[in-house]
Symmetry: C2
Subunit: 106 residues, 2 copies
Amino acid sequence: MTATTAPSVDMGLSVEKMEKVAFILKTTAHPTRIAIVQLLAANDSLSVSDISERLNVEQSLLSHHLTGMKLKGILSSTRDGKNIYYALKMREVIDVIQCLAACTFL
Amino acid sequence: MTATTAPSVDMGLSVEKMEKVAFILKTTAHPTRIAIVQLLAANDSLSVSDISERLNVEQSLLSHHLTGMKLKGILSSTRDGKNIYYALKMREVIDVIQCLAACTFL
DNA sequence: CAAACTTATGAACATTTGTTCATGCATACA
DNA sequence: TGTATGCATGAACAAATGTTCATAAGTTTG
């Protein structure tokens, strides 16, 4: 046991993994964004106004959340006519959710 | 917020679970606190100065992190002489970490 | 083209979170 | 006692995050 740059304490989850998961959960750890992820996990792709109506979140605020999540690589978007459709891009988001869903204890 | 009290989209992880996990990860999603959790997952109980030395974090700042985590129910502390020993309290923290560690994809 | 619709954007502001510094408080020990 | 050690605390500040509002920009349709 040399002291310093230990890559991971022997607990199964490396610092790297932990930080990746933390990033994902941290950037989605907000009621609105959680709901967005839920919707997009169940719906594959939705327009902004779809989401806005379903979640009852005002357009501008929602847009900020969406573009933020897109910037961080979690969502993707494509235009179709005057609508813009968002979808889950980062596969790990679903992975993490499924992984956690499989844990029965919570 | 009337219409959207849907308990969980059918994706396995309820909003409630998701928010609990998010809470855990969000409150630990910080380099120093991640390291703290790692240490305490591997060591059962450590004094503040132990942690301070190992992580090379200044006393006061560390103390703020520790008391914050304690306030949120994640850590516990007991005094022994002039030292105060911190330990992981919230079992779910370890659970979540182990759960994520079991997921191979990341 | 103009009007209507959908989404993005940016500025101002509010709130939360992280950091530092100085100081206080408790315990041990000479 | 009083002095040193270990930790907490609170104020001041910094930075990140969330929210609102007004407005712009891209698309369709009449």
